[in-house]
Amino acid sequence: LRIEITVNGKAFEVEAPAGETLVEVLRRLGFKSVKDGCYTGTCGGCTVILDDRPVASCIMLAAQADGSCITTLEGLADGDELHPVQQAFYEVNAPQCGFCSPGMMLTAVSLLRRNPEPTIEEIREAIAGNTCRCSGYVKVIEAIELAGKKMSEGGGR
């Protein structure tokens, strides 16, 4: 199948076999930050933002994404300048192994776009589909709160 997708603002035309998933296509295109930890939509490592909502790209066929706009972690920073979510994750040392971090950060970006000042409960709810085995989520939640504050104070995108 021939599909057209926009990834991080850049248009791609790709040939994808009918059964190929979005995560496979994205990784094939070089977006290696998209992690596949389960292939069953249960770990959240493959989360990308698709037309403004976070989706598990391992249970979405590439063909279903035809015509859509996708953001991966590679697309968040503006050159050397980190997105506030990235900056916050970096500053508070939220990532440990970092394998869940791409999906976690994209979920956070999506949350903060919808809800710039989420409560801790709303953060917990939002990242419930992004499993982390290292952190106990404490520093992750701290980072998302911090990013939300920074974005509300301006400098947000």
Partner: protein, 779 residues
């Protein structure tokens, strides 16, 4: 044993160490640029898939691979007839490994559902999977045994009947290993005791579930050497073991560990590398292997299930006189870490309470279930679940407050640890004196932080009957394996005053690259940005046993400090020459060598002059440290739970864990370990359990059916650092990554008792188990 203060800055003021600095790989992680093993796999790589046994115990009579080979795109199908038959252990331990050599790359017998049968190598994953289904295997099904106590009976089927296995304690009785360690006269002390109390506890198979599954990539470089990029905790052990089982020299193998997506012990195992390397050598092409999430559950290395019986003799005044633990261990179908994990169950937990007589015995049984292995805590979480629940019970039986009772009997600084002499890691132990102990501070911090919310029980609504309670547990652990751990580090000077730090140590996401860099920077008087850390590449970094046994900060850290000190001293010589004074006369402070006359030279200037001055030289030093000690970190966890009396559901409403780490090189990363362990421990206590059918097939091998904690399942975990500054550790460090796991499950189990008055001696405390116990007790 004499100990000097190691690496503590003379000026006492630490500039880089003890600081909350961002991880050295933090920027690449948050930018999505960090590279994990799979990210290196080329488009041309073949994919290799393991054909696995559907039976728990069977002999392979015949394998027909013709149909599989006929599938277009299939390059190679390997069976036990095609590979060298060399007994080995998948345990990535230092040589000679204390685990039995009871495993073969591929064997004519299968011993659990999911055991290796064959390997299919094909152009891509789909082709490999299709062909794997076409490998025809004729099995002679053998009787299987799943209960460790049944397995130890005479009538049980013999799981390891192969004549060429080595190091099995008694294969004919399915005994992988047997341990007996004793000090004092136990029976005599039991006779004298006012009360002798005995209880039995059960722990479950808990799987590790790193977010990145096991993944490995092998190829031959342009000179024909085998390169293995792999998600491992033990690159140097991978190199040795892969070379040995493939009958090639170590010199032909290079192992690289890139970023790794969580490990916890499960990547201290050769789960894929031996076969993947073999396929690359056979085909001459790059080969990639990755476990599916399902395989990750049944074909890797969960925590050993144990039956633990604690028996304690105690006087009316609350003094413990005799303490015994007897354990039956299920190692599964192979004995990976089968001797040393159970050794550790005793050696890490039994020293916590003083007693005149101590005995620890363990029988380690083979069964036809998945292979247990090294998992964060390494046997100690099982030991502490039993010990800390048992001591809670003993205290109540003699009418004492459990905290008062435990405090009264706990080991303290200045004490010798008598059982340490008898019980090492699978061998004789060592003499150990406790030189630093922050247990009291841990208790204070954790106890004050929990149960203060004021939220009343039954907050879930008027229709819920709930009860709340607080429980706690204490613990100690170890730091490294004395006489076994060795670590190397190299520090190399660059002309701009930056330094390359090359370490064999292995960062699993724990942040060891960062804290080792911080230690080097502190010694060299520069910032962390001036230290370029490169780790875990067997061609370019010095040897290190790898990341296990809570050793990296203490052992590898010591090697780093030693190498950095050697480099600093050589730069002092350069500075002395330039300043025209004796090197001994120079003080080193805030990155500058200072002469008595007031002149000074910054270390960066000395670095520049060392390469581009008159006496041009490459200053580079390697240091090696052999660890001979094992100072224990201590910890305390207090937990508040709410138990739903109608459903048996237990919710942890509040939890605090305080750990005496010696010193926190980077408090952020230390807290990450403490809190991360608490999260994992909550899962161990409440939800995580591998379930099996009566035929030995795992029933819940998915993230939906095997419940690890999500953000909604956890309270706001409070982690506290206590610093007792251990004299033998670099900058006073001990360890944090495993000790923090030890007290969580017993604290929660004790809290459930405190809430309900019902004692449940089996993990995990699932609603079903709790409700059954509550009903039985009439609550």
């Amino acid at each position: 044993m004499k100990h000097n203060k190691v690496g503590v800055a003379e000026s006492a003021e630490l500039k880089v160490v003890s600081k909350r600095l961002p991880k050295v790989d933090g920027r690449s992680i948050v930018r999505g640029e960090a590279r994990y093993t799979k990210d290196f796999v080329g488009e041309d790589a073949l994919f290799a898939r393991i054909v696995r046994s559907p039976y728990a115990h069977a002999r392979i009579k015949k394998i027909d691979k013709s149909e599989a080979l006929a599938v277009p795109g299939v390059e190679l199908v390997l069976t036990h007839e095609d590979v060298p038959r060399i007994p080995f252990t998948t345990a990535g331990q230092n040589y000679p490994e204390p685990s039995p050599y009871d495993t073969f790359m591929l064997d004519a017998k299968v011993r659990f559902v999911g055991d290796r049968v064959a390997l299919v190598v094909a152009r891509d994953r789909l082709t490999a999977e299709k062909a794997a289904r076409l490998v025809r295997v004729d099995y002679e099904i053998l009787p299987a045994v799943f209960d460790p106590e049944e397995a130890l009976k005479k009538s049980a089927p013999v799981i390891h009947d192969e004549p060429d296995a080595e190091g099995i304690h008694d294969a004919s009785r399915n005994v992988a290993a047997s341990i007996h360690a004793e000090v004092g006269d136990l029976e005599e002390e039991f006779k004298k005791a006012d009360l002798v109390s005995e209880h039995t506890y059960y722990s479950q198979y808990e799987q590790q579930v790193p977010m990145e599954p096991h993944v490995t990539y092998s190829y031959l470089d342009e000179s024909g050497r085998l390169v293995i990029i792999t998600a491992t905790q033990v690159p140097f052990h991978v190199r040795r073991i892969v070379a040995r089982v493939n009958e090639i020299p170590v010199s032909r193998v290079r192992v690289i560990k890139p970023r790794i997506g969580g490990a916890f012990g499960v990547k201290q195992e050769i789960i894929l590398e031996d076969l993947c390397a073999h396929a690359a050598l056979r085909t001459g092409k790059p080969v990639f292997m990755e476990l599916s999430r399902e395989e990750e559950f049944y074909a890797t290395r969960p925590r050993h299930p144990m039956k633990l019986t604690c028996k304690t003799g105690v006087m009316k005044d609350g003094n413990i006189v005799a303490n015994e633990m007897r354990v039956v261990v299920n190692t599964g179908s192979y004995g990976s870490h089968g001797l040393t994990v159970p050794s550790n169950t005793g050696s890490k937990s039994m020293p916590l309470y003083r007693a005149r007589a101590i005995r620890y015995v363990a029988e380690v049984a083979y069964t036809n279930l998945p292979v247990a292995g090294a998992f964060r805590g390494y046997g100690a979480p099982q030991g502490y679940f039993a010990l800390e629940c048992h001591m809670d019970e003993v205290a109540r039986e003699i009418g004492m407050d459990p905290l008062e009772f435990k405090r009264k009997n706990a080991i303290r600084a200045g004490d010798m640890d008598p059982i340490a002499v008898k019980l090492g890691e699978g061998k004789e132990g060592f003499e150990r004196e406790i030189r630093s102990c922050g247990l009291e501070e841990c208790i204070e911090l954790a106890s004050n932080a929990v149960g203060k919310s004021g939220e009343s029980p039954g907050a879930g609504g008027p229709f819920r009957r709930t009860k709340r309670g607080v429980g706690f547990a204490l613990c100690m652990h170890g730091t490294g394996i004395p006489g076994d751990d060795v670590a190397g580090a190299t520090v190399k000077v660059n002309e701009d005053g930056s330094f390359n730090l090359l370490v064999g140590a292995t960062d699993l996401g724990t942040g060891s690259d960062t804290i080792l860099g911080q230690m080097a920077a502190e010694v060299l008087g520069v910032s962390l940005d001036d230290v370029i850390v490169y780790a875990s590449d067997t061609d370019f970094t010095p040897f290190d046993v790898g990341a296990y046994a809570s050793s990296t900060t203490y052992v590898s850290g010591r090697a780093v400090v030693m190498a950095a000190e050697k480099v600093r001293e050589r730069l002092r010589g350069v500075a002395a020459g330039l300043l025209g004074v004796e090197a001994e006369a120079l003080a080193f402070d805030d990155g500058s060598f200072r002469a008595p006359g007031g002149e000074s030279l910054h270390v960066k200037e000395a670095a520049l002059k060392s390469l581009y001055g008159d006496a041009k030289q490459q200053i580079s030093e390697t240091a090696s440290f052999l660890n001979l000690d094992c100072p224990p970190p201590f910890g305390a966890c207090f937990a508040e739970v709410e138990v739903d009396l109608d459903t048996g559901m237990v919710r942890v409403t509040d939890i605090a864990s305080a750990i005496d780490v010696g010193r926190a090189i980077n408090p952020d990363l230390c807290e990450g370990q403490i809190v991360g362990c608490a999260a994992m421990g909550i899962g161990y206590a409440l939800t995580e359990e591998m379930l099996f059918s009566t035929e030995g097939r795992m029933l819940n091998a998915s993230l939906l059916d095997y419940k690890i904690a999500t953000s909604l399942d956890l309270p706001d975990i409070k982690g506290f650092i206590v610093e007792s500054v251990e004299p033998s550790g670099p900058f006073g460090v001990k360890s944090v990554g495993e000790v923090s796991m030890d007290p969580i499950a017993p604290a929660i189990a004790n809290a459930v008792f405190n809430a309900t008055g019902v004692r449940i001696r089996e993990l995990p405390l699932t609603p079903e188990r709790v409700l059954t116990a509550l009903k039985k007790a009439g609550v």
